[in-house]
């Protein structure tokens, strides 16, 4: 492999480790969805208006909604699909 490509790979790896959720060539649908869901939950918890919105809609306390959402971030899209390789 040429140095340029190696360099490129190293940079990519650095990005992937620094920014959680950065995709790579083998990202599958499940990983993509999981990242998206975790990002969404984090954003909803961070915006006061969004967490209040779902708390009012579901008639739960904001504290409970935050708790449940972080709980869901553990496995937001069900069991992972086995990788082919």
């Amino acid at each position: 492999m040429s140095t340029a490509a190696m360099n490129m790979n190293a940079q990519l790896e650095h990005l992937q480790s620094k920014h959680v959720g950065t995709g790579h060539a083998d990202t599958n649908k499940f990983e993509w969805a999981v990242n998206q869901h975790r990002d969404t939950y984090a954003s909803v918890i961070g915006h006061n208006t969004l967490i209040a919105y779902s708390a009012v809609a579901e008639n739960e306390s904001i504290g409970r909604k935050k708790f449940e959402m972080i709980e869901k971030m553990l496995q937001p899209c069900g069991l992972p699909v086995p990788r082919d390789d």
Binding site: N48, T49, A57, E60, G63, P80
Partner: protein
């Protein structure tokens, strides 16, 4: 089109509240974050009223706030975690009343992201470091210290990252003066993501981790990590060092556990509320229906002189007091704890944060609805009725059995409400209507949640609290209050003037008439004042009566053919105007003698108003006299002995001035205020002109229309500073609030005359005349510009309509997670079978305890008719069988003789996720009994939840899921006439004009559709290119729609004129149908006319006029309780001016918490054609030299700029 966004009322919800000595004095303040606004509140320890000291919009989303105090210091700093990707440390500056930014350190990207810190913030209790964390992975520690000149220093960040880890909570552990330790609840997901069998997920561990900051090595280490209950959600710090056993309380579902490194854990259960609707545990523990566990959502720790206690609140609002037993070893080192005790304290609204003040007050920032200040009357130790549960008596250890314990709910015992801060969050729907026929319309709003929800009528105006009303004999003309001498703290007399007499009342325990005061009773009075040390003066048409302390009276008689028409005085000076336009000036000399100045001043026209300035601190006299004349002029005369009664300045006004008030307002933020001349005109205008305190020159005049009657002005005191009461067809108050002058109407009837009033019971009141009544009232809540009338509701309100013919509101309320009446009856019956004889089902009062919680997918709902005049419920219709109402409209069907029917869209067995229902229904009601009752005509089953209803050309439009249908009225049910199934997700809003239908979709913005009569079809012809998650829309005109989305954007979309024409002028109509779609949607696209981020989900958008004679503007309300408006600009020059000003403000005054203003307003969609008025109004907060600089750059003067900023708001809004 350009719009100007201004906030009429800031967010009323609170998302963070912390306590500290921010001013550096002994008194504690409460800092609250209201989404993007920081506000400093101060509870008054004597009265218990909460005052707002400072509010500041930071143009960023505040997510976490902690107070922070360096060791040995007495002042708290404020650390703020926001969405700016920066940690900001603020200091409150009590002298200037501002927040000063001490440090601002960038660590990451902006936005509320998963791995960018800002969500959690924890300070070391000894003030050495702070940790800022994200929900996932990243945690940073900043070491704080002070340098040689005792300034706060901040280190570069130390990383404590752990990837693939979610964080539930983060706190600083009190370890005394050992290395700072931070504790957090972590969950590692790396295995869960890799394991398709689900085993890893089942076994995923939640751990409590200690991060230690090694101050010697300048390094953070993961010190200790131990598994805890997998349903843990919150940490509460326990005092350490010499104050307590240190460690943390880990709150999990149903349990609270004390944990600390090297010590065994100690656990107590959280006592539960006995739920009468769940079957009770049977003796052998089988068939137990437990319901859901409870979690702790907020807590507060309080140290006493000896020991400490913790108050923890569950999600139901029950507060528990937690105490612990521990022993100190021989060396004074405190070991582990022996006993953890928990006892029910009281039940209060669910709080986001609780703050306990040293003075014994508990501030509760509620998640929803009003915030409260409670007085702790009792610590609950002697409450024998409640069980105290102790860990020593309960099983401990990892495999201990589940324990369930109960408490007895009861009314408040230990807490008493002292003050209440109105909050309209969550505001679910609102309408702007003028039903009371006031000058400006009212806002009718649906607020709150569950049993604490309400229907509120918001009227623009300050709330007045009436202290007393007394009837007088005859109609008085004027009223004054005076002190008997200068030393008195309170007013001694109320003097009331009638057409031909004067009444003197003395103020004491009661108010009664006195006759021996030396005042002349047989004549009307022009003015009364306290003079010098201990004298009084009464000016009446025929003369001046100077009453000395020993009741000696000296009189000055008006010259034979003239009478006194106007008079003005202060403590040293008296000025009178004689008929014919002559001014006579008197001054008190050092012997207490009132001497006439040798010259008199002849004015050109009869004098209509007089006012004398206040005496500046340390001076003998006021230097200025203002004189208003019939020739529409107002002059400033000098009272300086050197050039006495010489004219210094003149202002021509448009109508006759009827009243003047020279007042010094402290609006500069410094000790010396600005001298203002307020001029009330015959036409109802109020002018405010700045008077130069040296030369007396007049400059910078501001206008404001107050009402249809001549404006009378009176000097009063509000919160210790001078203010002006302006009476026209409506009373107004001009005062300074947080060093800004404000002019706001009072929510009081029309008044004739007013004066300040000060007594022991009412230290800062106003006494005023209204026809033949004397009113004494106070104005306390200066921060809320809207006055609320509150009508409590039963369930969370959803939608409402106004039924014009009867003047009634019809409100639909539906509550998730609650038993419907039939289920409730069934459950009570089941329970009754189990219960012993004599026991009875008792429901807890829902106002305090909320409604009993059911399970997801259970609904209670009702339809209510509310009389708008009497605010009474005329009719309440409870829905049953798990049916919930979601939409409501009135509809006049074809051929029904113009009768309006009420249609309510409901659905049964609705689950929110996934969105399903067993059946939707359209209830058709007929208004009976003059609109005060409903009669069910029929019920039409449909297949989906009807979220939107709208009357359309004598038929009914129904939006249900993806389907838009037209129904007509039938005998047995509504009849389906036409439908379109092409909408993307879920129709939420519907509006029509002509044949055009505007549909708002839950995710896909607005769609323009057209109804074609000849082939009875609905065709979508235009949609939006931006996916907006619509929450509210309105049609601004035939082609334009304004709306808001869930993420906090406000937008205006417009159909291009040519498209609009093309669609309407298509004779065959076939073009519309066969036209090819564009970008996988409708053939045409709407243009974006304006986009703006407001930070909170808008819940209603209305086009309306809110000030008399004002322009049409767009008023919006948001979920968290902001009321704001968008004002269209009328000229290009204004747009350019404000664009320039906004740009300067962005550069010169960047937002406090480090968020870039332009980036914030372009959060989701780049800001377009909207100028941020809230930022422009911060111009007044700038230091003077920066103001001058900006003004210079814009080729204008400072006063021109601030006038323009004030004008654009006042012309269209308030």
């Amino acid at each position: 089109m350009f719009l100007y966004n201004v906030t009429l009322q800031q967010t009323t919800g609170i998302n963070q509240a912390v306590i500290g000595n921010f001013a550096g004095t002994k008194q504690q303040e409460i800092l609250v974050a209201r989404n993007s606004v920081l506000e400093l509140l101060q509870p008054d320890p004597s009265t218990g009223k909460v005052h707002s000291l400072l509010t500041h919009n930071v143009f960023g989303i505040i997510r976490s706030v902690v107070p922070f105090r360096l060791t040995g210091s007495s002042k708290d700093y404020i650390v703020v975690g926001s969405d700016s990707g920066r940690i900001v440390i603020l200091e409150y500056n009590p002298a200037k009343n501002t927040f000063d930014r001490v440090h601002e350190e960038t660590y990451g990207k902006s936005g509320c992201r998963r791995i960018v810190p800002g969500q959690y913030l924890a300070a070391d209790p000894k003030g050495r470091a702070v940790m800022i964390g994200a929900i996932e992975k990243q945690k940073l520690v900043y070491i704080l210290n002070r340098d040689a000149s005792t300034r706060l220093t901040i280190s570069s960040p130390l990383e404590a990252h752990k990837s693939h880890t979610l964080v539930h909570d983060l706190i600083g552990v009190d370890v005394g003066f050992e290395n700072p330790v931070f504790a957090c609840i972590e969950v590692d997901y790396s295995d869960v993501d890799q394991d398709p069998t689900g085993e890893a997920f089942q076994n995923a561990e939640k751990v409590l981790t200690y991060y230690e900051l090694d101050l010697g090595l300048n390094h953070v280490v993961r010190k200790w990590s131990d598994p805890i209950d997998p349903r843990s959600n919150k940490l509460i710090p326990v005092p350490g060092g010499v104050d307590g056993p240190s460690g943390v309380l880990v709150c999990s579902e149903n349990y609270i556990t004390w944990r600390h490194q090297d010590y065994p854990s100690v656990r107590v259960p959280i006592p539960r509320r006995p739920d009468p609707l769940l079957s009770s545990p049977s003796a052998n523990g089988e068939d137990m229906e437990m319901g859901r566990g409870v979690i702790i959502v907020s807590s507060v720790m309080h140290k006493l002189k000896k020991g400490f206690f913790i108050l923890a609140q569950t999600e139901d609002g029950d507060v528990f007091k937690i105490t612990m037993d521990y022993t100190a070893g021989a060396d004074g080192v405190i070991g582990g704890i022996q006993n953890l005790k928990i006892k029910y304290f009281d039940t209060i609204p669910v709080a986001t944060n609780m703050c306990l003040l040293k003075t014994g007050f508990l501030f509760v920032a509620s998640e929803f609805a009003n915030h409260y200040l409670y007085q702790i009357e009792n610590l609950g130790d002697d409450d024998e009725a409640q069980m105290e549960y102790q860990s020593a008596e309960l099983p401990q250890g990892d495999d201990a059995d589940e324990v369930i314990v109960y408490f007895n709910p009861r009314g408040l015992r230990n807490l008493a409400i002292v003050d209440e801060l109105e909050s309209i969050s969550p505001l679910i729907d609102a309408k702007v209507l003028n039903l009371a026929e006031d000058d400006s319309p009212q806002i009718y709003a649906l607020c709150g949640r569950g049993a604490r929800s309400s229907f509120r009528i918001l009227r623009h105006g300050l709330e007045v609290s009436e202290m007393a009303v007394s009837e007088l004999p005859g109609n008085p003309n004027a009223v004054w209050t005076v002190k008997a001498n200068a030393q008195e703290e309170f007013d001694s007399f109320i003097i009331v003037s009638f057409v031909d007499a004067t009444l003197v009342l003395s103020i004491g325990e009661t108010v009664e008439e006195v006759t021996d005061t030396g005042f002349l009773n047989s004549t009307p009075t022009l003015t009364v004042a306290q003079l010098g040390e201990d004298a009084l003066v009464q000016v009446y048409p025929r003369g001046i009566r100077h009453i000395r302390a020993d009741r000696r009276v000296s009189e000055w008689k008006a010259p034979g053919n003239k009478t006194i028409v106007r008079a003005a005085c202060n403590r040293k000076q008296v000025v009178i105007a004689l008929s014919g336009g002559e001014v006579v000036y008197f001054e008190l000399d050092s012997h207490g003698q009132l001497n006439e100045f040798q010259d008199r001043k002849e004015m050109a026209a009869p004098i209509t108003a007089l006012s004398i300035g206040p005496i500046p601190e340390g001076r003998q006299r006021s230097g200025f006299l203002a004189v208003g004349c019939e020739d529409n002029t107002v002059r400033i005369l000098s009272l300086d002995p050197d050039n006495c009664l010489q004219s210094l300045g003149m202002q021509a006004v448009s109508y006759m001035p009827v009243s003047l008030a020279l007042v010094e307002m402290s609006d500069t933020g410094t000790a010396t205020g600005t001298l203002y001349l307020n001029i009330g005109l015959q036409s109802g205008l109020l002018l405010r002109t700045t008077v130069d305190s040296i030369t007396g020159a007049l400059s910078d005049t501001r206008f404001r229309f107050l009402g249809s009657r001549p404006v009378k002005l009176f000097k009063v005191q509000i919160q210790g500073s001078p203010a002006v009461l302006a009476l026209s067809s409506r009373p107004w108050l001009s005062f300074t609030y947080q060093s800004r002058t404000k002019l706001i109407p009072l929510s009081a009837p029309m008044l004739e005359y007013g004066s300040s009033f000060c007594s022991e019971q009412c230290p800062e009141g106003i006494v005023a005349i209204e026809s033949n009544n004397l009113h004494i009232f106070t104005v306390e809540k200066l921060s809320t510009v809207f006055n609320h009338s509150i009508i409590p509701l039963k369930y969370t309100p959803r939608r409402f309509i106004y039924h014009q013919p009867s003047g009634n509101f019809v409100i639909i309320e539906s509550e998730h997670n609650t038993w419907c009446p039939s289920d409730k009856v069934k459950r009570i019956a089941e329970k009754a079978d189990q219960m012993d004889e004599g026991e009875e089902y008792e429901e807890l009062p829902p106002e305090q305890f909320g409604l009993p919680r059911a399970e997801a997918g259970k609904w209670a709902s009702c339809i209510r008719i509310l009389n708008s005049m009497t605010s009474e419920t005329a009719h309440l219709l409870e829905l049953d069988n798990n049916e919930a109402a979601f939409s409501i409209t009135t509809c006049i069907f074809h051929g029904q003789k113009g009768e309006a029917f009420l249609i309510v869209g409901t659905a049964a067995d609705v689950t929110l996720s996934p969105k399903t229902c067993s059946s939707g229904f359209l209830h058709t009601y007929r208004f009976v009994d003059g609109g005060n009752a409903l009669e069910l005509l029929h019920k039409t089953p449909i297949d989906d939840v009807p979220y939107a209803l709208c009357a359309f050309q004598g038929r009914l439009l129904v939006g249900m899921g993806k389907i838009l249908r037209i129904y007509d009225l039938g005998k047995k049910k509504l009849l389906r006439k036409c439908e379109n199934k092409q909408f993307p997700n879920n129709i939420l809003t519907l509006h029509t004009q002509g044949d055009r239908i505007v549909v708002g979709d839950v995710q896909e913005s607005v769609h323009f559709a057209s109804y074609r009569h000849f082939d009875n079809r609905i065709v979508i012809f235009a949609d939006d290119t931006t996916p907006r998650w619509i929450t509210a829309t309105t049609m601004v005109d035939y082609d334009t729609v304004a709306g808001g989305d869930k993420f906090g954007n406000i937008f205006i979309d417009r159909l291009p004129a040519e498209t609009s024409e093309e669609v309407d002028e298509d004779p065959t109509g076939n073009k519309l149908v066969y036209e090819k779609g564009y970008l996988q949607g409708a053939p045409h696209k709407v243009e974006h006319a304006a986009d703006f981020f407001i930070g909170e989900s808008p819940t209603s958008v209305t086009k309306t006029v809110i000030v008399p004679g004002g322009r049409e503007i767009i008023v919006y309300t948001t979920l968290l309780g902001t009321i704001g408006c968008l004002i269209p600009f009328q000229s290009k020059e204004d747009v350019e001016f404000f664009q320039q000003l906004e740009m300067h403000m962005r550069n010169k005054f960047p937002p406090l918490c480090g968020r870039d203003h332009l980036a914030y307003r372009s959060y989701y969609i780049p800001v377009r054609n909207v100028i941020d008025g809230d930022l422009c109004e911060q111009f007044n907060l700038l230091p003077n030299e920066v103001k001058r600089q900006i003004a210079e750059d814009m080729d204008r003067t400072v006063s021109e700029l601030s006038k323009k900023v004030e004008d654009v708001r006042n012309r269209a809004a308030f």
